[in-house]
Amino acid sequence: MARSVTTQRKSLNTFIAWTIGLLIFFPILWTILTSFKTEAQAIADPPVWFFFDWTLENYRVVQERSNYSRFLWNSIIIAGGSTILGMIIAIPAAWSMAFVPSNRTKDILLWMLSTKMLPAVGVLYPIYLIFIRFGLLDTRIGLTLVLMLINLPIMVWMLYTYFKEIPGEILEAARMDGAGLKEEILYVLTPMAIPGIASTVLLNIILAWNEAFWTLNLTAARAAPLTAFIASYSSPEGLFYAKLSAASTMAIAPILILGWFSQKQLVRGLTFGAVK
């Protein structure tokens, strides 16, 4: 609203919004704070807030005892790999549907969406069997493939809505100007599509990083990413709050940062372009 509001009203808004915002954020903040405490301080009653002996000990222990970096590496490979692989398949598909629509395009798009809605638990055992049969169980390649497939519809959709915003006339102009398919993609389409592609990549990394059905059910020791590593704290180890916090902080920090960059794209990606 392009209207000036009294300072009083604005102060009140600010106060309420910050209070609620901090309340919602509090569990994350508390986790981060706790990760720097000693185990005793972590469960102290009354709780200690900021004035404690800040220590990095928990981070060191988590890394040493449970080889945290291996799980991190698995997460990076799986989230990154499934995103790259997915984009290689999704970009041409979205491109063709956005710029050379046929009368079946809409049906294909909706059908792709419907595959995303397939409940994972409904196909759990067949996938499990197929994984055993092809030696994919507890491998990074297997998990990469599955995460690529479950997020492919979102990638195609999101790219499609971005590509749709590139006016067809521009590509026609390029064609009139003598650009072949290769030049068209290289000099015109790609530079115009890069912001959309970047947001799609970002959202997909977030989704793949946090996926916690297949990563829990299809991995054991070797290929387990951070989701599964954290889940191992549901055993009595979880009682070591400071270490749980340190592990959690490391697992969520990269994605929290990426996520903040992608708020706007998140809406488009998760509503399949229905809300922009």
Binding site: E169, A173, A174, G178, G180, E183, Y187, M192
Partner: protein
Amino acid sequence: MGQIVLQQVTKSFGEVTVIPPLDLTIEDGEFTVFVGPSGCGKSTLLRLIAGLEDVSSGEIRIDGKESASIPPAKRGLAMVFQSYALYPHMSVRKNIAFPLRMAGLDRAEQDRRVEQAASVLNLTDYLDRRPGQLSGGQRQRVAIGRAIVREPAAFLFDEPLSNLDAALRVGMRLEISELHNRLKTTMIYVTHDQVEAMTMADKIVVLRAGFIEQVGSPLELYKNPRNLFVAGFIGSPKMNLIEGAEAAKHNATTIGIRPEHIHISAEGGAWSGTVGVSEHLGSDTFFHVQDTGLGDTVTVRADGEVSFRHGDRIFLTPRDEMIHRFDAQGLRIA
């Protein structure tokens, strides 16, 4: 050189026929305007010539060469789009140079041609800006610049002025006409605005539902519209069309008389009526006269000084030699 011949060209999208068999010849150096209401197929026709759509059947010959199977870039045509279709991520210079770059010209030649086009179009100061930083008129000129540098056999314009405001539109109209006079290259121009068609064209092609209703110079169309559709479409304000007894007097089903061919007076005349809305433009005044017993409201053009008030009783006299007669099929009676 840029003669374009269309022979028995048709286009259908699935079941829907947009262009039924159509023949048309556009002579080299001619400024041809395709005009018609929206959905009449004029843009499709232009895109068929450009090669952006495949013809369903028929032949398109550009400079005598059968072109229906040649890709757009190889037809030697340049197109200016309605949305200008500038590349938003390139500077003006790069936009204009793009077709030259695609054609593989060396850098020096590219620069020379870009500079030349820019000076013709008053864009020299803007060469390093992005399209997003330009006004509508400037963007339009960049789009034209991109077309000029290719030295095409013909220019194709797809409603290029429809996104500009009224004042700019008049200016750009003159610029494009001036460009045509200087380059003497074939131009095909698509518009739904009959004023643009009348003011710019050597030859107007009036289209309706894919059919050519009439082809001719602006004055031919104005003086001798072949049928009711052309009569109603060309001229502003529109021709008054009168049916019934008054038309029967002239042995016609419908007669048409343009507002500028009716004399208005307070004393007496052939028809009488009362003044409804009057539009004062300064130079002219248009009266919308009601209760004439002729059916619709009759529009009359008078001098700017003539002033009747709302509700005044007045008399109208059409100039007999300017009455157009149409038969029951809507065709002109010679």
